[in-house]
Structure formats: structure tokens, C-alpha cells
Amino acid sequence: MAVIFELAVQGAQMFSVLLLAPLLIGFVRKVKARLVRRQGPSVIQPYRDLARLMRKEVVLADNASWLFRVTPYLIFAATWVAAALVPTFATGLEFSWAADLIVIVALLGSARFFQALAGMDVGTSFGGIGASREVMIASLAEPAMLLIVFSLALVAGATQLSTVAAFMGSPEVGLRVSLGMSLIALVMVAIAENARIPVDNPATHLELTMVHEAMILEYSGRHLAMIELASFLKLLLYMSLISCVFLPWGLESAGAGPKSLAVGAAAYLGKLAVLAILLAVFETAVAKMRVFRVPDFLGAALMLALLGTLLLFVSRSL
Amino acid sequence: MNGLTFDIAHLLAGSLVLISFMMLYQDRLFALINVFALHAVVLALSVAWQAYIQDAHHLYITAAIALVFKAIVIPVGLHRIIQRLGIHRDIETAVGIGPTMLAGIGLVTLSMVLMLRVTPEADPLAREDLAFALSIILLGLLVMVTRRNAVSQVVGFMSLENGLVLAATGAKGMPLVVEISVAFSILIAFIVIGVFLFRIRERFDSVDIGALDDYRGERR
């Protein structure tokens, strides 16, 4: 009985993230639009876009290979699994132990790997640009991410997200400079990974500075839909990651009753909303930077993360 | 052994050293050869003396060889070679006379020091003779390395070998002395003939000269 219930909770999370992701994007876009005094499309516009893409035919370049056609599903699957393993409204889900934070990062890594390959498949210059820049960004973002994981593991003594979240929720954490640094670093990494301003601009084409869009330039129809959905999921994933690690309030263990789970869900939605608004504000406030400033940006994240780790030794005198 | 015999042996050996110094001093070939002839004569005397005091009669042969072969035949031969090669005018020291003499003195002292470390209960005559022989050998080598001309190198070598003979005869009852002196005379004859045949002034050109210019092709 309990097992079935937990499986149900796990399933609920899997599909809720799938459903929530476009909504989150729609919300962010809406907020951004309002911030610049535009009406903006409705919040559910992303669903409409996806549906329309699904209906459209796929236009494939002549020399697109099988890899090009498989990749969208792989990207989607990897991202979805990763997103499903991050605690959103409840910790200790049935399968949460199948992967810890490092695995989740690596899953996103595989998604990126195939995306970069797909970008190079057709053999246009844009694909190459996108791919080469993407891997460059990733090569800096991933170490930063790992160092963040490292300092979290130092504090919580685990890389298992449920444990980390539970620990961060517990009172003995207190306020720590190093944790603040890790938070900033994590935010920077999240921005880079999700191709948001100032690293990349999700809403542009025909710009020599574009990264993510350049890679998926050749995609259309359902393939594009898959990739878009994957990127939505990714944003959701990072937000839930931040919220479950740094704002772990209201998280319940999966064993708890439906009522407390409902509370957890509400709390989760609240956090998402807050983060979405912050993101929107930030994106409207700053300008996109040159591609070759990005390394400095991420280098700063890397340094912050390392600094956080070392500070931790001092503060803990481990 | 009584003092007189000892003194005579000592005198002869010492005068050999002196004559070696005279060789160092010469810078003309003819003069050098003449001095060498003198050297050989004195050697013959000293060998004979040794033969007398050790009454080892075979040593007289050695003395005779020294006298006939080294003091007469070789010098004459060398004279002719020099005339053939037409090098009798050469000033042929590689190092100046002065430094050479200084080096010679240094060498003699060195050999003295070395031999005085020998425990005194060894036969004193042998000891003295050894000291002189060693210095004669070293001086002979010095002549060889400070002279440009093959002929004078030969002379140096022969004086070196005189030192050997002196030592050998000084060693009481040493076997094979005669054989050795004969062997050496033959050796020297070979050298002289070699000089004569190959018209050797100083040296041939070396063979591997081409390798002097390095070849970058095989550099790593």
C-alpha cells in the first residue's frame, strides 16, 4: 500500500513537472512583458506553441542523419528524468536515491552533449558556432557546479538531494557566508545553463552571438517541440533545485499524508512564482554580454564556489 | 755495500737526470741528438757499473747495446733523416724553454717526494736509482710532449726508455733485463724506420676531420 502510494507520489511529481514547465515559462514571459509595459502573450501561450509545433510537419535538411532525428527525444528524456529526480514538493521520493546531485548534473550534461552533436549534424556554420560555444560554456559551468555540490556536501554531509534538503531545512544550518556564495554561484550557473540573459538570449535569431538557438536552428515541428519542452523543463529543474536547497521550507518527506503534501505543493508553487519574478526582473534589468565575456562571468562563479568551499573549512575549522 | 760504489752509481744516475735537463734546454735538432748520444753513453757507463757491482755479467750486454745502438747507430741515423727531410733549421719547441725547465724541475721534485715515501729499509741504492729513473722517465715524456717534431719525439721516447733501463738494472737480480732492452731497441728501430719511411714531420691529418662541422640534419 505504502509502496503504491509512494510510487503514485513519484509519478505525480514526474507529470507535474512536465505540466508545470511551460506554465513557468509563460509566467516569466508575462512578467517580463509587463515590466516593459507590454501586454504580452497569455500565460498559457507556451502550451499553444508546443501544440502547434506538434501539428506541423518536420522539415529535415538533406544530409540530416538518424542522430539528428533521435536527439530531440534523448534530450527530452534525459532532462525529464533529471527534473523528476529533484525534490519539488516532497523529499525522499521512491526513486530519488537512484541519482544524487552529481548524477543530475551529469544527466543535463548528456542532454547537452547530444544537443551539441545535433547542432553539428547538418553541417551549417551556425550549428558549429552554437555547439562550440555551448561546450565552452559548459566546460566552465560544470566545475563550478561541482564545487557548489562540494560545499553543499560539506555542510550536509551528503550529495543526496533529499538528505541535503532535509538538512538545510533543519535549524542547525544557520546563516553562512559560504552558503551565500554557493547560492550566488548556483544562480550564475543556472543562468548560463538555461541560456538566459546576460549569457544568451532565448528570444533571438540571426544574431552571431546566439548559442542555444544556433544549435537548434535546423529543428522544426515536433522535434523542435521536444527540445523546447526540454529547455522549459531545465529551467524548472534549476528553480526547484535552488528552492529545495536554499529555501527548503514546506518540503515534506514523501511518507507524509496527502494533506501535508498538498501544503508542500502550495509552498513549492509559491517559491517558483517568486523565483520566476526575480528572474524576469533580473533579465529586464541587465543587458546581454559579449560571448567572450561569458568565461569571465562563469570564472567568477567558479571562484565564488571555490571560495565558498574554502571558507567553509575556516568557519567549520574542519 | 761500501760508500764509494754507492756514490759512483749515484753520481752516474744523477748525471743522467742532468743530461735530461740539457735535452729540455736544446731547441735545435742536431744539438738535441748529440745530447741524447751523451745520455746514452752515460747510461751505458752506469749499466756497466751496475753489472760490475752486482757482478751480473749479462748486464754488460745491455750496456753494450746502449753504447753501440743508442749512442752511435741511432743518432747517426737520425742525422741522416733530418738531412733527408731538410728540417734541421727548425726551431721546434711547442712550449718555451723556460716553462719547460720549470716543469722539469717540478717533475723531478715530484718523483723525489714519491720515492722518499718508500720505506727506508728498502735497498737505498735501489731507492735513489728509482727516484732518478722516475724523473728521467718523466722528463723524457716532457720532451715528447713539448717538441713538435717527430724526430725529437723519438729522442724523447728513447731517453724515457733509458730511464727504464736504468731502473731495471738498478733492481738487483731482475730477470729479463737484457731481453727487455733488446726488445726496446727493436721497438725504437721500428719507430725510427717509421719516421723515415712515412716522412713524418709531426703528424698526419686526422681522418674524421669532416665531422667537425656539425650536421643539423640529425639533431633532435
Binding site: 556554420s125 | 711547442a94 715524456l141 710532449v145 719525439q153 703528424r203
Partner: protein
């Protein structure tokens, strides 16, 4: 007949095969015969070891033959460590021989390959079994010699000759270093048997010296920076299946030597030894992969990435040393197991990738990626398995590369418990370096696969290419399967490694097979866990779910058209992104300090017709800092000394004379 004696028959048979091969190498059937024999023998050896492990893994069997050093005899011994490396060697050996059955037929001069190939295999087997210093070094150098002969197989190419030369010089440098190390371990009495060395513990200074010498000796063979210079020259120079052996297996044998001496013979390590090894490992990993990223020769790229993986392994071994020195056996076991696991994994995917490179070479005759591209259409199977290899080596789940690197990171996460501040601070930094190298590896293999197999064909050679023979494909498929299996069922491997860890660091990782759902839990489930099987299952399920959903409810329509590319149409395939241009952003970021890279753009005056040029000059710092000064010094010395060949007789006499006088002076001044 003891197990080890049984195992020794294998190398003997291989050597016999080598001699036979030398005799019959003119025959047409020779290729098939030799590789078949090698395959059979390696498989037999593998089976024997497997049987031994299945039966009684802990059991040690030794034998002494009346060969080698007279009073020591040639001693051979089979224990957990050597058994594991025997598995690595013979698994690689048998699969390589399988590949060779097909690939060998394209060999232009089989007479220069066939005799040495079995000898090389035999050498590696014997090194792993040797149990005294003399036999060890003899087999070690024999291995180098055989591989040198294989590198010289295509000797008409000047570059190969140079590679072979540098390789053998570096190899004998390493051997001499090992020789000195063993000299210290053996002591003045000259007890060269490993058993004796094990019991006699050297003093701290001697132990330090031995460690340094081992880093020089084994490190030069494994390719640690800065001793790596020969590796990217020699490995690609050999025929591809030999490159696979050298990169995938021989470097592992070098690591075996390091482990055998430092963990087994040397006794208790000092904590700073851990620091040294960890740092060198981290630097090696990063520099190796950066070099790989800058390469455009496929096989050299692979060779450089070998250097990176060696770095990862050494860093992990260094961690194990540090933990061992601080009496933290469980953590040491974790790091040590991670290292061995990565050894196994690297032997899988590096062999796979070199096989792929070999297939490309046979299909197109090209190693230069700038002349390849679009091969995915021509070589469907090869490209698929190569892709598997790329994913595995890039440490992406659910493949095996990720499993072992994950374990390494878990080991790094235990470093805060170390008492020494130096380690506390260094290990996280090195962890960052390893993460960096992993990410760069992903970048590197995106480039390798993307430029070689994707995009449009860059040369006519590609147009003519067609899929390679079945043997090669079979070999590559087997390796790809291993990569996946080791990735989704890591628990079995880890448990298989536990006896080794137990015998060398005094503890083992918790039993993994017992875990629910076959997930791996290094310390505790609440702390960290990973389940490759589930991740793999989830990805496949959700991917197929999505596919099913789409094909059920969405449109199926597909229209082929010319590439969109924002309306720009690249006229010629040459206009595609090249390997060099792909690496440019990363070169921009790291090139400055890693290679002193300088980019100069000269743009012609407006209206001028000649193209603008981007010129990049990079320097291999290891080469410039370490090797060129040495060769320069040797040149200088030879230059000076060479004059002594051309003196006159008088001058030579002067030498003799002076020497005599000096000696006499010494005597005169003698007390």
C-alpha cells in the same frame, strides 16, 4: 599444476606464436593464423583467470623458474592485483586480436607487425605476473621493445622513425628510474625478490626516493605530464589495433607497476606522497585533455585523451595513498576501487575509440579530421559504436565512464575528514580540476565525433568510404556492449574489485550486489547513491513514451529540404566548422596559459582581394621547458668534446702525460 604455472603457459604460447609468425609471415594466411592464435590464447588466459577468481579470489599462487637472475630465479606470482590486471590485459588482448583478424588484412607490411604483436601481448602478461625485480624489469622492457618494433612498422615515414626513437629513449629512461627504485628496495645485499622487499621496509628518505623514482619510471610509461611527450607521437604511429593496445592496455600495465611498488612493496606511505600524486594527476588530466582539444589528428586526439584519463586514475590513486596514510581504510578503499574501475573502463572505451579511428583510417585513409566529415552516412555501424565510446569517455550517464568518475568524486567528497590542511585545501581544488577535465572531455569528444562523422564530407576520400569488415565491427560492438554493461551494473565490478582493495589498502567497499535495485552506495544511501540501471531504464522509458505519444497524436509528416541556416547557404563543405575553429572558444579561454597561444588576425585593406587570415601559434610547454634544453645541452657537450677526436699525436701524448702527473700528485698528497 598451480594456477600461475598454468597462466605462464599463455605467454609461452604467445612467444612461440611470435617465432612462428617470424617464420611464416610471408604466407597469405599468416595474418589470420597469428591473430587467431593470439585471440585463442588470450581468451584461454582470460578464462583461466576468471576461473581462478570465481573459485578462490583471495588465494595466492607463486612459482619460481630456474631462469633470469641466477640466485633469485624468475619468480612469478598471481594475487588479486595481478589477477585483475590480467583480466584487463587479456580482455583487451583478445578483443584486439579479434579486431586484428579483420584490420590486419589491410596491413601493407605484415612482416613488421605479425611477429611483434604476440610478443607484445606476452610481455604485458609477464609484467603483471612477475614477482622479482629482475623479471619485472626484463618483461617491462621487453614490452617496450616489442611495442617499439610495432611503432617502427611503417618506418619509411620520417615522423614514425622520430616517434619510435623518442619513445624508446623515454622508455629506457623510465626503466633506469625503475632500476634505481628497485636498487633502493633491494638494498646492498641485492634481495631482488618482491617477497623479500615486502617485508623489508625502507626508511622515510629511501621511501620518498622510491616514490619519486616510481613517478618517473611508471609515470613516463603511463604518460604523466611532463613525461608524456613521447605518447602522442608513438601511440598513433603504430597500426591502429596496436595503438589501442598501447593506449588502452600498456598504460594500465604501467599503472600496475606503480600500484605494485607504491601500495604493495613500499609499506606505509607518508601523507605528502598523496599530495604529490594527487597534484600531478590533476595537472595531467587538465593539460592532457586541453592538448586533445587542440588536435585535429584523430588518433593523436585519442592519445592525448589517454593522458587525461591516466591523470584521473593517478589522482584517485593519490587520494587512496592519502587516506591510507591517515588510517582511513574505508575511504582509501573507495578511492582505490574508483581508480581500478576507471582503469577497466578506460581500457574498454579507449580501445573502442582507437578501433573506430582504425576503421575510419581503413575506410578513408585519413587521420586528419579536417578531411573527414559526414561519415555517419557511410559507416553507420562504426559511427554508432564510436558514438557509444565518445559518450562513455565523456563520463555521461548511464555509461561506464560516468560510474567510475562518480566514484572518484565520492572519494574526493570524503577528503574533509583528512587531518592535514594541505590535503584539505588541495583535494577540492583538484576535484575542480577533474570536473573541468570531465567537461572538457565532453567538449573534446563532441568535436571528435561531430567533425569526423557529422556534417558534410570534406574530402573525396569520404565519398568513396564504405563500412569495414565484420571482424572489426564485431570487436567494436563487443566493447560498446561492455561500456554499457559496466555502466548500468557497476555493482558487480565493484564487488569484483573488493579483494584487491582489501589486500592493498586494508578495507573494501560495502557489498553492492545486495543493494536494492542494484544501485551502488559507496558509503550510505542517505549520503549518496547512483543507480545506472534505473537511470538507463528511465531514459529509455521516457524517451519511448515521448516517441510513442508523438507518433500517436502528433503529425508524422517529414519533408526533406536544403538546410535552413538562417538563409545562408554554405557553398562548399570546406565552409563548415572545422576542428580548429570548433576548439577556438576554448583556446581563447585556456590557451593563454596552457600553450602560450597567440592569435593574430590580418585583415587585408578594404577592396583588397586576398582573404583575411587568422594565425594561431601554440607551444607545447612541456616540450619547450624540459626536452629542448636537454637536447640543447647534449648538443653543446658533443660539440665541445668532439674536438678531442682531431688532436695531434703530441696533444694526445700530452693528455696521457698530464693524467700521469695528476695521478702521481694525488699519490704524493695521499695521507
Amino acid at each position: 599444476m598451480s594456477t600461475v604455472a598454468l597462466l605462464l603457459c599463455g605467454p609461452a604460447a604467445l612467444l612461440a606464436t611470435a617465432i612462428l609468425a617470424a617464420a611464416i609471415s610471408r604466407l597469405a594466411a599468416a595474418t589470420r593464423l597469428v591473430y587467431g592464435a593470439a585471440l585463442f590464447i588470450s581468451a584461454a588466459l582470460l578464462a583461466t583467470v576468471a576461473g581462478h577468481l570465481a573459485g578462490n579470489p583471495g588465494e595466492v599462487s607463486a612459482v619460481t623458474l630456474p631462469l633470469g637472475l641466477p640466485w633469485t630465479g624468475a619468480r612469478f606470482r598471481l594475487d588479486g592485483l595481478s589477477a585483475f590486471f590480467l583480466v584487463v590485459v587479456n580482455l583487451g588482448g583478445s578483443i584486439t586480436s579479434l579486431y586484428g583478424l579483420g584490420y590486419g588484412r589491410h596491413e601493407a607490411t605484415p612482416r613488421r607487425v605479425l611477429p611483434f604483436y604476440p610478443a607484445f601481448l606476452a610481455g604485458m602478461n609477464l609484467v603483471v605476473l612477475a614477482n622479482d625485480a629482475f623479471s619485472f624489469l626484463l618483461c617491462w622492457e621487453f614490452m617496450s621493445l616489442a611495442s617499439w618494433a610495432l611503432v617502427m612498422a611503417h618506418h619509411r615515414d620520417e615522423a614514425n622513425r622520430r616517434a619510435g626513437y623518442i619513445y624508446l629513449v623515454m622508455a629506457s629512461f623510465g626503466t633506469l628510474a625503475l632500476l634505481l627504485a628497485f636498487g633502493l628496495l633491494a638494498g646492498p645485499a641485492g634481495t631482488y625478490a618482491f617477497d623479500a622487499m615486502r617485508t623489508a621496509h625502507p626508511g622515510p628518505f629511501a621511501a620518498g626516493a622510491v616514490l619519486v623514482l616510481m613517478l618517473l619510471g611508471a609515470g613516463s610509461k603511463a604518460g604523466l605530464v611532463p613525461l608524456h611527450a613521447w605518447l602522442p607521437l608513438a601511440h598513433p604511429a603504430a597500426p591502429s589495433h596496436v595503438s589501442a593496445l598501447m593506449s588502452g592496455i600498456m598504460t594500465k600495465v604501467a599503472i600496475y607497476g606503480f600500484i605494485r611498488v607504491v601500495f604493495d612493496l613500499l609499506g606505509e606511505p607518508a601523507w605528502w606522497s598523496g599530495v604529490a600524486v594527487i597534484l600531478i594527476g590533476g595537472v595531467t588530466a587538465v593539460l592532457g585533455i586541453l592538448h586533445a582539444l587542440m588536435e585535429k589528428d584523430l588518433k593523436r586526439l585519442l592519445a592525448y585523451s589517454t593522458i587525461e584519463n591516466i591523470g584521473v586514475i593517478f589522482a584517485s590513486l593519490g587520494l587512496a595513498l592519502a587516506f591510507k596514510a591517515n588510517a582511513m581504510p574505508s575511504a582509501a578503499a573507495l578511492a582505490f576501487t574508483a581508480a581500478l574501475f576507471h582503469v577497466l573502463n578506460h581500457s574498454f572505451f579507449k580501445s573502442l575509440l582507437f578501433f573506430g579511428a582504425g576503421a575510419v583510417l581503413t575506410a578513408t585513409g585519413e587521420r586528419d579530421m579536417e578531411k573527414l566529415g559526414g561519415l555517419i552516412h557511410r559507416l553507420p555501424v562504426t559511427s554508432f559504436v564510436f558514438l557509444v565510446g565518445c559518450v562513455s569517455i565523456s563520463a555521461l550517464p548511464p555509461f561506464n565512464g560516468f560510474a567510475s568518475e562518480w566514484l572518484v568524486f565520492q572519494a574526493i567528497l570524503r577528503s574533509p575528514e583528512l587531518p592535514q590542511w594541505g590535503l584539505k585545501v588541495i583535494v577540492p581544488a583538484v576535484g575542480g580540476m577533474l570536473a573541468l577535465s570531465a567537461a572538457l572531455a565532453a567538449a573534446c569528444f563532441v568535436k571528435a565525433f561531430g567533425i569526423t562523422f557529422l556534417g558534410r564530407a570534406r574530402s573525396a576520400a569520404v565519398e568513396r568510404a564504405h563500412e569495414v569488415d565484420r571482424w572489426s565491427l564485431a570487436a567494436m560492438a563487443v566493447l560498446a556492449a561492455f561500456c554499457l554493461l559496466a555502466g548500468i551494473l557497476p555493482g558487480f565490478v565493484i564487488d569484483g574489485l573488493s579483494p584487491v582493495a582489501l589486500s592493498l589498502v586494508g578495507d573494501r567497499m560495502p557489498v553492492q550486489i545486495a543493494e536494492p535495485w542494484l544501485s551502488i552506495v559507496p558509503i550510505a544511501e542517505s549520503r549518496s547513491s547512483y543507480n545506472g540501471l534505473l537511470v538507463f531504464a528511465f531514459i529509455t522509458i521516457s524517451a519511448s513514451l515521448a516517441a510513442f505519444f508523438i507518433h500517436r497524436f502528433a503529425s508524422h509528416a517529414v519533408r526533406r529540404g536544403i538546410a535552413w541556416g538562417c538563409g545562408f547557404v554554405d557553398a562548399v563543405p570546406a565552409a563548415q566548422y572545422t576542428a580548429v575553429s570548433f576548439a577556438q572558444p576554448i583556446r581563447r579561454v585556456f590557451g593563454g596559459f596552457a600553450f602560450r597561444a597567440r592569435e593574430t588576425v590580418d585583415i587585408p585593406a578594404p577592396g583588397a582581394l586576398e582573404p583575411a587570415r587568422l594565425k594561431v601559434d601554440m607551444h607545447d610547454l612541456a616540450w619547450e621547458i624540459f626536452y629542448q634544453p636537454i637536447t640543447g645541452a647534449i648538443d653543446f657537450a658533443t660539440e665541445r668534446l668532439n674536438h678531442l677526436q682531431f688532436l695531434t699525436i703530441r696533444r694526445y701524448l700530452t693528455l696521457v702525460f698530464l693524467y700521469l702527473v695528476i695521478l702521481l700528485l694525488v699519490l704524493a698528497l695521499w695521507p
